[in-house]
Subunit: 335 residues, 2 copies
């Protein structure tokens, strides 16, 4: 079954509307000077995948919007926005979602603090649930997301990234927040513990698969579509799955040359490596890895087919698969 964002997200419209209203209300909790900056970050153009996971995991049979889910969706989105603000400082990124980054707009100093303020506001909202479980889960996830980003930063520009390291990094930096979104969404909707675990597993696997897709798009995407230059990961010395797969398939001398570029000892030859990737079937291998990760998540949901959220979450998997196919088409049309 082919799914696209439009179909899945049409269903989510009232939920995303409620989330927007809630987030805008939060702005007023900030000191006046920060409201403009926070408002700038809480824009509506993001994909809001994490809130979608919260809503879909805790979906009500009648499609109604649970206020607790809106609050948790705001929490995970704010944590995500905070990491984006900090990421953009570190990457010295100029543009995000078609607008100047907060770091570019307000300066890196203010952006460090703005990220902190968004983080602490997220925890502030998490602490308003009657029990400490939400706050615990969110604080723990946030810590893991930071850990993943730190490990990635420390390894950047080195050859010291194994496949296992890569998987651990994306598990921490991306999959963890996907996982906790599903866990909290289903938990707050009072779904059975077994389902909560299955949804959390699905979220985690979707997060891993999504990050691999994102890393694949960095080489095989269309620049006009992904909104950035291709090969930025290679340029910044980041060993992702497409590069790791290529290195594994290259003869030793070429692999050494590529690693030297990663280490910044030679200037990156992106066109050369894109050619090598196509010749050596890297695209297909990475697509298979994405499918395998997704499959683990789908298997976890298998016994829960009778629950409405199960079908909705699986549709998100289909959306990701369709996006991957989209890359294949742009690859074919390029060659």
């Amino acid at each position: 079954m082919a799914s696209d964002f439009a179909t899945v997200f049409a269903r989510l419209k009232p939920h995303m509307g409620a989330l927007d209203v809630f987030l805008r209300e939060q702005i007023s909790a900030f000191e006046p000077e920060i409201r403009t900056m926070a408002d700038y970050c809480i824009d509506t153009s993001g994909k809001r995948i994490r809130p979608a996971l919260v809503f879909l995991s805790g979906w009500q049979a009648d499609g109604s919007v649970l206020p607790d889910l809106v609050r948790v969706a705001a929490v995970v989105e704010l944590v995500h926005l905070a990491t984006l603000v900090h990421d953009d400082i570190m990457d010295e990124a100029e543009i995000r979602r078609g607008r100047r980054t907060a770091s570019r707009e307000y300066g890196p100093e203010a952006a460090v603090l703005l990220g902190d303020a968004l983080f602490s506001h997220a925890l502030h909202l998490a602490a308003q649930f009657p029990t400490t479980s939400v706050c615990q889960a969110v604080a723990d996830s946030t810590r893991k997301v930071c850990a993943g980003e730190i490990i990635q930063t420390l390894r950047r520009g080195t050859a010291a990234v194994s496949l296992a390291d890569y998987r651990r990094i994306i598990d921490l930096k991306t999959a963890e927040l996907f996982r906790v979104s599903c866990a909290l969404g289903s938990e707050l909707a009072q779904l059975p513990e077994g389902f909560v675990k299955a949804a959390a597993c699905f979220g985690r696997q979707l997060g891993i698969a999504y990050q691999i897709y994102d890393d694949l798009a960095d080489f095989f995407g269309r620049e006009d579509k992904i909104g950035k230059t291709l090969g930025t990961d290679l340029m910044s010395g980041k060993l992702t799955l497409p590069l790791l797969t290529l290195i594994d398939r290259l003869p030793a001398s070429l692999a050494e040359q590529l690693l030297a570029e990663i280490k910044g000892e030679r200037s990156p030859q992106i066109a050369v490596w894109l050619g090598e990737m196509e010749d050596r079937g890297v695209f297909e291998a990475v697509v298979e890895a994405i499918a395998a990760e997704l499959q683990i998540g789908m298997d976890a949901l298998e016994p829960w087919g009778a629950y409405t959220p199960t079908g909705l979450l699986l549709q998100l998997g289909d959306v990701l698969r369709a996006q991957v196919e989209g890359l294949r088409r742009s690859t074919v049309s390029k060659s």
Copy 2:
């Protein structure tokens, strides 16, 4: 009664020892790559004023160490350390407490994330109390601390800082964490609500007074003692109370000249303004402001003299007064 750090802190020794053990244990909760970095930050050379406020506000008649207070002391210290790590990135500081800053040691990218990891670990610990009140209080305080820092950053290098703005900034960036340390310490020790409020008020006023003292030391301290160059606030365009007081007392033409230096339109003439400050009684005026802020806090504790923590907190006020006197002596010996 003359008090010094030594006397007050001797009493706190077992508490600070327990805090150290607890903080070191926390390190093991971090991903292996981050342990070294976190360990680097959780050094023992800091003054640990915020933990001291927690312990003294919830002091037990028998001097015993309450585990809950140790945990909360760790929370406030971690939040403080996180803000220091981020501050040092923004100030491009090289040295803090006689060692290279985390930003200098690991690079600003990793330091942004390390600060985030320390923040989220603090919230993680706060979420482990049975109720959400600690997490709520800490998240809210953290948000205010960030807000204070943001406002200060946005106003840096501008003349747009009134006395009221200055007081609001230091209330948010410094006094808030002092306040919450006293509030949580006394609350967790199950002291009466009225005392909790009084202790919180004292903590806040001590924080305001402490920050004014710190800003005064930036002009009147001994470089070897405060471990940094004098006049850094003027150099970085930060309008603090000594400068605001001086501007108020200068003839219009000189005030304009000073403001031009704040705005970076002229190079700062620190020696000139130090001379003007001495001629125009700025030191005394600022010392009086410190005393007035402290007095408000002491008055709040007045009805609670029968409680052990009251006397201990008041001693911290004496310590601050002694530090201010220390500045006076170094001022006299310089002139």
